[in-house]
């Protein structure tokens, strides 16, 4: 069973006014088969945590550790982290002009699995996953995220997660900008991955509404660069009722 362990993680970004501390000591453990919701107000550092785990060069790690099954994640390059089993569904996936979804996915899967997938199996696998997320099969020939609506981008992120089948998936505000139907479809996709029991999910969100569809085992409240409260799914109900103010003043 895979496990990611984040201990005492501190992260800085460089701003015009000099370096700024964003994460101030994050401790978090996510195991395969678990769903963790990381909730917090805007600007609390949730996305920074996601990007720092994935290895975005903009964020510098100033302390702490991240390990995946005992391996030092922070020592790995971005692509090595992905091949080790980490996945980040981005809040704002970028366009890659001239590169088709099908080419992109095949290249990614080949890198992750270490060999090119059998073509016949691959096409079937891709078709099934796309159908499950209600993505038009013709999307495979469209350029990555080019001209996609917000919902189409998010569905494509979850498509990648399903195909890559990571050990640990960090979903950064995957629910933002989705209408109710798209939210349901995306949530079902997340649940399908979770149901296999082989992936640990860290669901980062501002709102509680996705938690109606994806049931978290653990809820963490994030504020000012650290986790300020932890509990079960009842914590989400408390946030739904009272907002974040109670944690902010705490």
């Amino acid at each position: 069973m895979s496990v990611i362990e984040i201990k005492g993680l501190t992260v800085q970004v460089t701003t015009e006014d000099g370096p700024k501390d964003i994460l101030r000591g994050v401790d978090l453990t996510v195991k395969a088969g678990e769903v963790h919701a990381l909730m917090g107000p805007n600007g609390s550092g949730k996305s920074t945590l996601a990007y720092a785990i994935a290895g975005h060069p903009k964020y510098s790690i100033t302390g702490g550790s991240v390990t995946l099954d005992g391996q030092d994640v922070l020592a790995m390059s971005v692509d090595e982290r992905a091949r080790a089993g980490l996945f980040l569904a981005m809040q704002y996936p970028v366009e890659v002009p001239g590169v088709s979804i099908s080419n992109f996915l095949r290249t990614s899967i080949t890198a992750i699995r270490g060999e090119a997938p059998n073509l016949r199996h691959w096409i079937k696998e891709l078709k099934e996953s796309m159908a499950g997320l209600q993505i038009d099969p013709q999307f495979a020939e469209r350029n990555v995220n080019e001209g996609f609506s917000g919902g189409e981008r998010k569905r494509t992120e979850i498509l990648q997660m399903e195909l890559i089948h990571p050990k640990i998936a960090v979903l950064d505000e995957t629910d933002s900008g989705l209408d109710v139907d798209a939210l349901r479809v995306v949530s079902e996709g997340i649940n399908r991955v979770c149901a296999k029991g082989e992936t640990g999910v860290l669901l980062i969100t501002h709102f509680t509404r996705i938690l109606k569809y994806v049931k978290p085992d653990f809820v963490h409240v994030f504020y000012d660069g650290r986790i300020v409260r932890e509990g079960g799914s009842e914590l989400a109900d408390e946030i739904e009722a009272n907002g974040y103010a109670q944690f902010v003043t705490a």
Binding site: V96, F104, S108, A111
Partner: protein, 381 residues
């Protein structure tokens, strides 16, 4: 692509051409002064590498070998006589090519013919100083694809005149796939009849210096021109494309898309897009874009769109120019999916050209360009 830092992009100045009609038009090179790098038209050109072709009087030391496949509806002739009407050229290099050329190649696409296969004019250099004049005459309502394939080594000044009759449609692809030491200078002049259309494609991959000046003239309303260019300059290569679209008739269209990559020390690309909409050219619709991707340090991309508009009664007129390095966010995204940095850059670069290949849409060319790019990417980027 994100912008644009100091030494890789020069400030793009939108300066209307001061004088859009060339002062001199002649078939005689002695009518022109010898150009220097102080002349606007040559300000980006490495004059010392032109092997004196700009002086207009370097004797031929051997020819290029020209071969053409047989395609029903197309006829090809090589004649030594320089007869018939021909408009004067606009610089000493082109006039010099005309003065020094031994024979004129004429490719005629018969009226109403719809060619089912591409005509391939293969131009093979053997290291000599050589000159060329190719006329492509597309008769009324004919439709064809012509590929002019330049390979081998040469010091070559060769012009192409493309005359498109009323209602005809032509695609001309000029592929500069020369050996590393070749020098190739040319004017490509497109003359469009009523309701005719031309797709002109320059693909510059090889050669030490390639400098090509495509121009479009409309002789009647309803003409459409698409000018595409794809270039890849490696260390020490100079690839220059300067185009001029002269909208002098009503209701004509032009669309210009040039994309290039630069890789290595002293790789230099130049794109100048002059578009003139004259006062009587109402209903004109024109757009031009140039994008450059700088793959490694030391390259320089000059990109200068010039749009001059003398009437407001047009459908549209626009231009864009970007030069930049790889987009870090694109690379991060691809790498976060397990793709190595090297492979990620290759994907982005292939994608950069793939868009344009889709518009060029000549399968045999597209495959060749893809292969060539793959070969160049073989080492590094």
């Amino acid at each position: 692509m994100t912008a644009t830092t100091e030494h890789i992009e020069r400030e793009v100045a939108i300066v209307p051409p001061k004088d859009h009609t060339p002062v001199i038009r002649s078939l005689d090179p002695s009518d022109f002064p010898t150009p220097t790098s102080r002349d606007e038209e040559f300000r980006f050109t490495p004059m010392s590498k032109l092997r004196d072709l700009h002086k207009g009087d370097v004797p031929t030391t051997g020819g290029v070998a020209i071969a053409v496949n047989k395609v029903p509806g197309a006829t090809f002739e090589l004649t030594s006589a320089k007869t018939g009407e021909r408009q004067g050229f606009t610089d000493k290099i082109a006039a010099g090519a005309w003065a020094n050329v031994d024979s004129v190649s004429t490719l005629t696409i018969s009226a109403d013919a719809q060619l089912e296969e591409s005509v391939v004019v293969s131009v093979v250099g053997s290291g000599a100083v050589s000159y060329g004049q190719l006329d492509i005459n597309v008769e009324k309502f004919a439709k064809a694809v012509v590929i002019v394939d330049h390979i081998g080594d040469a010091t070559y000044a060769g012009n192409i005149d493309i005359n498109v009759a009323d209602g005809a449609s032509i695609c001309v692809v000029s592929l500069q796939d020369w050996d590393a030491k070749a020098v190739h200078l040319a004017q490509h002049r497109i003359t469009l009849g009523r309701d005719s259309s031309a797709k002109h494609v320059l693909i510059t991959l090889g050669g030490e210096v390639v400098r090509i000046l495509p121009s479009v003239v409309y002789t009647a309303p309803g003409g459409q021109a698409e000018l595409f260019g794809l270039y890849f300059a490696s260390a020490g290569q100079h690839a220059e494309h300067r185009l001029f679209v002269d909208h002098s008739q009503a209701n004509c269209r032009s669309n210009v898309v040039y994309k290039g990559a630069l890789d290595g020390e002293d790789a230099h690309t130049v794109w100048v897009g002059d578009v003139l909409i004259r006062a009587n050219a109402v209903g004109t619709d024109t757009y031009e874009i140039n994008r450059n991707l700088v793959l490694s340090g030391g390259g320089r991309a000059d990109s200068v769109p010039n749009l001059e508009i003398e009437t407001g009664e047009i459908v549209g007129a626009g231009h864009a120019s970007t030069t930049g390095r790889f987009d870090d966010e694109q690379l991060f995204y691809l790498q976060s999916r397990g793709i190595t940095p090297d492979e990620a850059r290759k994907l982005v670069l292939r994608g950069f050209f793939e868009d344009l290949l889709g518009q060029i849409s000549v399968p045999e060319i597209n495959d060749r360009v893809r292969t060539s790019i793959e070969t160049r990417l073989g080492g590094h980027i």
